[in-house]
Subunit: 355 residues, 2 copies
């Protein structure tokens, strides 16, 4: 089979490059398989019955929280392969990341895979960053199958970014709750998709850093909403579409406060997202009974929601096309303590049903 995958125009812009930032895949890579692992609290939330494995032990049988997060990544990766009937040797590259300094959950979680690793940091947007690069890699012919993994753990994140758990600090209502969970997605070459293939990745809109000067580390939704706004607008502009192009526009972990800011910003620019907008952070916990305040967050939030709820609804054909927009707050205790703002980033992935 010989294919011509790009026809370069005289000005040097090829027809996969859409507008300023986006890429349209001519022969869309597919999500060949996916898996989600989460903790007890997430298992008690609305997505509980949809998550592949809910672990009751927050330590995942390990000695400390960081190892627990690594164990989740490994379990999610193994399960995604198993569900898809894919051997580890078929995975050519791994795109993975987490929230921890120097990506230690990923380093120790993926070492046994023995697959070349591209370590990624995009805060809670990491699953989208991985899907962008993974689908570019597969579509470019550099690999037939790649694995995209991301994770977060409530206890590793609190320890790193906020207070020791034993301190029992008060959390304002704008704060989110870091999801204990990991998601893994196998991206594979498209064409002749087998029945039951979860989705096709038809386009991406990698995002840029947007800094509106938010300095409240307990309100990350406010820090990320402008980045989500920017990426959604860029996606619409680049592909020449509007909100009606998508069945759902699904942000990562803006939570209640960030989601309100996003819908306000959209409305002010003349776009009413209405019921089309959904936020993984607001889907994963039960607001009334789970005391999670503004919602869920963390790399695991969007990853678990993607693998447990979004991809199945695309597989069933309930949704035809969605825009998946994990959002990241580029928060660090070092920059925060030095008085810096919290910039945001948001990468967009267009997922379509194979039905």
């Amino acid at each position: 089979m010989t294919k011509t995958i790009f026809k370069t125009k005289s000005e040097g812009v090829n027809h996969m490059q859409k507008g300023k930032s986006s890429i349209a895949f001519e022969q869309p890579p597919i999500v060949a398989s996916c898996a989600s692992i989460a903790g007890k609290k997430e298992g008690e939330g609305p997505l509980g019955p949809l998550i592949d494995v809910v672990e009751q032990d927050e330590m995942f049988g390990t000695e400390n929280w960081e190892q627990a997060e690594s164990a989740m990544q490994k379990q999610a990766a193994d399960l995604a392969l198993e569900k898809g009937g894919i051997r580890r040797q078929e995975i050519r590259y791994l795109f993975a990341g987490d929230l921890l300094g120097q990506l230690i959950a990923t380093s120790f979680g993926t070492v046994d895979m023995e697959v070349p690793l591209f370590g990624l940091y995009g805060a809670c947007s990491t699953m989208a960053e991985a899907l962008c690069l993974g689908s570019m890699t597969v579509h470019g012919g550099y690999a037939d199958k790649v694995l995209c993994v991301s994770s977060s753990h409530f206890a590793t994140a609190e320890k790193q970014f906020r207070f020791p758990l034993a301190y029992g600090n008060q959390r304002p209502f704008s704060a989110t709750w870091t999801v204990t969970g990991a998601g893994a997605v196998v991206v594979a070459k498209g064409g002749n998709e087998p029945k039951g293939t979860p989705a096709r990745i038809t386009g991406i809109t990698p995002g840029r850093i947007v800094d509106f000067g938010t300095r409240d580390s307990m309100n990350m939704g406010a820090a990320m909403a402008p980045a989500a706004f920017q990426t959604i607008r860029q996606n619409f502009e680049d592909f020449g579409v509007d909100e009606t192009h998508y069945d759902r526009i699904i942000t990562g972990d803006l939570g209640e406060v960030g989601s309100r800011i996003l819908t306000d910003m959209m409305r002010q620019s003349g776009i009413d997202l209405k019921d089309r907008h959904m936020d993984c952070g607001m889907e994963i916990y039960n607001k009334e009974s789970q005391d999670t305040h503004a919602g869920g967050s963390g790399c695991g939030c969007a990853a678990v929601t993607l693998c447990s709820m979004i991809l199945p609804r695309l597989r069933s054909g309930e949704w035809k096309r969605i825009l998946f927009l994990p959002t990241g707050a580029l928060l660090s205790t070092v920059s925060f303590n030095e008085g810096q703002s919290i910039p945001g980033i948001c990468h967009g992935v267009v997922l379509e049903t194979c039905q």
Copy 2:
């Protein structure tokens, strides 16, 4: 212009995919421009006269070390564009990273670019990770030009990974000195390279994590040498070449101890690298007079050496083909204090002269 860039064989492996891990670029992307910025100490070393800008103020005119590192990234990026006569708007994507938790040097250093960012973490291997993904992106037709940036700063790294500088701790001879420096490389579409183009990127060998169980954070060369060994062997195997294929095989920051381990491991597997091996960590400081013990390290080490010395020698034709192998020690104080080992990673990039 219409090009066929991949011919998929029946078994689903295309001819850009070389062996288990590598990629050969059929129409090699080029290094269109590059720039290096470094601190006073690096300026006093052997590469001093070759570095574009040597800043005498370790604070780079900012209020703290992290901001100084961000300022270096920005300066390197701006200068690479300026030297190449390239407008910021021509850069479609940015691939960048540093050593700090949550990549704060990158977040604050690149925000003004207003270009979509793929944040990368590969410890000191980050410049190679960026070049791998950047060249795949350009060769795949997803962008005409991308920018790859990485940095490190002695003071931010010591603060994060080791002791407060004021503590004045003793450093063992196996310890390396984190380079204060940043490098920026513009990767662009190949074909009809203008005269003076620094180099072509003809292939890559992304590396996997290799963990030999090293637990000495003051001997990172030992932690990384097995990863360099693995990637070099993989490169030889995938491309069907041996050490004579390259004028130089240049590791990132193994330093004196790690380099000795690497050459020993190679010799035991029947390969004598002889004078072909070079290590950026051993090139950047004067061992006798600069008190840097085993050599230089940090994301900036390989990046500055690449932009100040390696690329110019390829541009002049002094070297025809080299294998660039930045190495990363996946060290974190959290995992280290929990008794974990220090895994290593090494990504390989094949650079050839345009002469």
